[in-house]
Symmetry: C2
Subunit: 297 residues, 2 copies
């Protein structure tokens, strides 16, 4: 058996999977303070192991910022985060107290890109970027078949973008950078900008033109910096019907007659929706658990 | 012996080096049309080999866009480029007609980042970005000790940035994107903006505040996207005395009280000048030639 956790800022998804990666038990609960949340995590895996058998490894795809450097003594520990109670919480050590198995920790977007690269929208591509646009904006990058880890880990969400011509008054909602990508385009930022949740904004509201512009500009910057073969837009906000077509149109307009896009050359084959959503993060965490189970102790 | 070429858009540097990487002969000539330029290249290596001995391999660090995918049938060939005569020119095949040795091809910024990562400003760091700001803007990225290649190759130069508050009238000089990073901050763009070459602008000209802002915003985007341990600013424009300190100050202001920077945590240790300039590209091309010489034929 393999244990997988998709630890999101709003909710936790836990699953127990067999050696074929098939889920045999799963649960979901809200993310509260770390101590309370971990009681639910430990209880789920303790009980399901009694029914289904012992875990050989665990994989975590977590919200960040979190240390994902296997060589660091702080591997698996959160960095400073605005999320109350979670700054410097040692996720890995706490889990390891209850489960004496190999555990690998990645960001949630890294497990999502691992899954989409393996079996989803990025299959067959060596260079894939996955960006989630939801409560926050986060990115996972695969270059030449391997995760780009960096010194801490890529975030993508705090990049700076030009302003849409009709959006110069809103200061942005990022507590650190005001109008960075996350401060302009994440779900809470859209809510702060328009006064209502983004999912209640009508299809022809100018909000979606502005949103498409920011996501297209983000895709330009990812293209210029990483030259990926696919950009996958995940997360709740990206699910808005028709949004991805608007992003594609704005991307074409911003990119102009520059280098040809990879593959078919069509934007619609380059900027795409996930194929495994909303399970991509959990599927990737199962893959990570299998890698952990095969790792030397 | 090993042959190295740093092929820039303005000039070519060629060197013959011994097994220790020491240069035994070198030359420089202007970049003209490919046929004329290649005559000089072939002549240099033909003559110097007669004096110093036979080459075991060659390395090229070239301006782009150029195919650097070893697995591609078009490896070593230019893509479409605005540089007259160079679109689709097959650099590798032309060189291979005269020199029957293994030849590796990278972008000039990739050879520069290889050199700075090995022996220069990025030594000891697994994650390094090198950006040259000169005739154009180009970037080379090392992640976890390996070059990030992408589907074509990273460029960095065409990312989109917010406008400096005092710079809303200049449309930008990039023929494809107007006011992208290259269209705002490359040498020719500064000249188009201010009417004189950037090196003649006085130290207290507002041009340098605006320039520092764009380079700082670029560094924010590279940090958010790649989480490097060092950002190295190369190229002629970066050499302006005092500019890097202004970039650091603007970066601190834009980054705010967000995640700590790597290493010492000081911006002055994070955004740095090259240590091997102006030779970094050529030093990296020698390293590449040595790798080529050791590769299976």
């Amino acid at each position: 058996m393999f244990g997988a956790i998709e630890a999101g800022g709003t909710k936790f998804n836990c699953a127990l999977a067999n050696a074929n990666g098939e889920v045999v038990a799963k649960t979901q609960f809200p993310t509260r303070d770390p101590e309370t949340t971990m009681i639910d995590v430990v209880e789920f895996f303790t009980h399901t192991q009694q029914t289904h058998g012992t875990m050989q490894g665990m994989g975590i795809g977590s919200f960040g910022p979190i240390n994902i450097d296997l060589k660091s003594e702080h591997y698996g520990r959160f960095l400073k985060t605005p999320k109350p109670g979670w700054s410097h919480f040692d996720f890995l050590a706490t889990l390891q107290q209850s489960f004496d198995v190999p555990i690998f920790v990645e960001t949630d977007v890294n497990t999502a890109v691992l899954a989409e690269h393996s079996n989803g929208a990025g299959a067959g591509c060596d260079n894939v970027v996955y960006v989630t646009i939801g409560t926050g904006v986060g990115g996972g990058i695969i270059s030449d078949g391997r995760l780009v880890k960096g010194g801490i880990h890529p975030e993508v969400g705090h990049m700076l973008l030009p302003r849409h011509p009709d959006d110069h008054e809103f200061p942005g909602a990022c507590p650190f950078h005001g109008g960075c990508l996350e401060g302009l385009a994440a779900g809470p930022s859209m809510k702060a900008r328009w006064g209502v949740p983004s999912e209640t904004l009508g299809d022809d509201h100018i909000a979606w033109d502005i949103q498409a512009y920011y996501l297209a500009a983000m895709c330009i910057n990812l293209t210029s910096t990483l030259s990926p073969q696919k950009i996958i837009l995940g997360g709740g906000v990206s699910q808005k019907p028709g949004l991805i077509d608007r992003v594609a149109a704005q991307f074409e307009s911003l990119w102009g007659d520059y280098l040809p896009l990879p593959g078919s050359g069509r934007v619609s084959d380059y900027i795409v929706l996930p194929q495994l959503a909303p399970e991509a993060g959990l599927v990737g965490a199962i893959m990570l658990a299998q890698q952990a189970g095969q790792s030397p102790r």
